[in-house]
Symmetry: C2
Subunit: 103 residues, 2 copies
């Protein structure tokens, strides 16, 4: 049985972004959900929950679930992903990824 592949990406945007630049980022990251191999897509901002073990310091949390690793690998080289990287990679200060396969 193929393992589900989950790609969690937390973005910390640069502090000095204009509202327009922030919109470019948000439109760009949202476009990733149109890539055909994405099975489940979530784009969020920190929730109101607040405990010591909760990190609320990021700006956006992206979660893409794929039916298998091959679908994830296709997503990484999709032209939509290339456009996102080209237009948005200058807008974040830090990105942190957790990729996991189901057990």
């Amino acid at each position: 049985m193929s393992k589900r592949f989950t790609h969690v990406v937390n973005f910390w945007l640069k502090n000095d972004l204009t509202a327009d630049q922030r919109k470019v980022f948000e439109d760009g990251v949202r476009s990733l959900g149109t890539i055909s191999t994405v099975d489940v897509f979530h784009l969020g901002t920190p929730a109101s929950t607040d405990r010591p073990v909760i990190d609320r310091s990021y700006d956006f949390c992206l979660v893409c679930m794929f039916k298998n690793k091959e679908d994830h690998d296709a997503y990484q080289v999709d032209p939509v992903h290339d456009v996102f990287r080209d237009t948005c990679s200058s807008l974040w200060e830090k990105v942190l990824i957790y990729d996991s396969e189901s057990v």
Copy 2:
């Protein structure tokens, strides 16, 4: 429209766990997927992808998606969640949570 609530939890287990203890943890964390308000459930271990921005140091990544925050709040106080905390909280060294609501 209600916002989808996504709960990402990364667990770093203690280094000296026995195979039996590790199984207790894995069974416990997997049981969380039986809580009725969970809409999408993923339990994974680090994938083979390996780039500087990817953190592969954790042992388990849990992703629970809920239709809204109320469903998440019900999950946190579900008896199954209490049992998990009681039987497994001594088994991890560190836990890190990212809660986000869809935008």
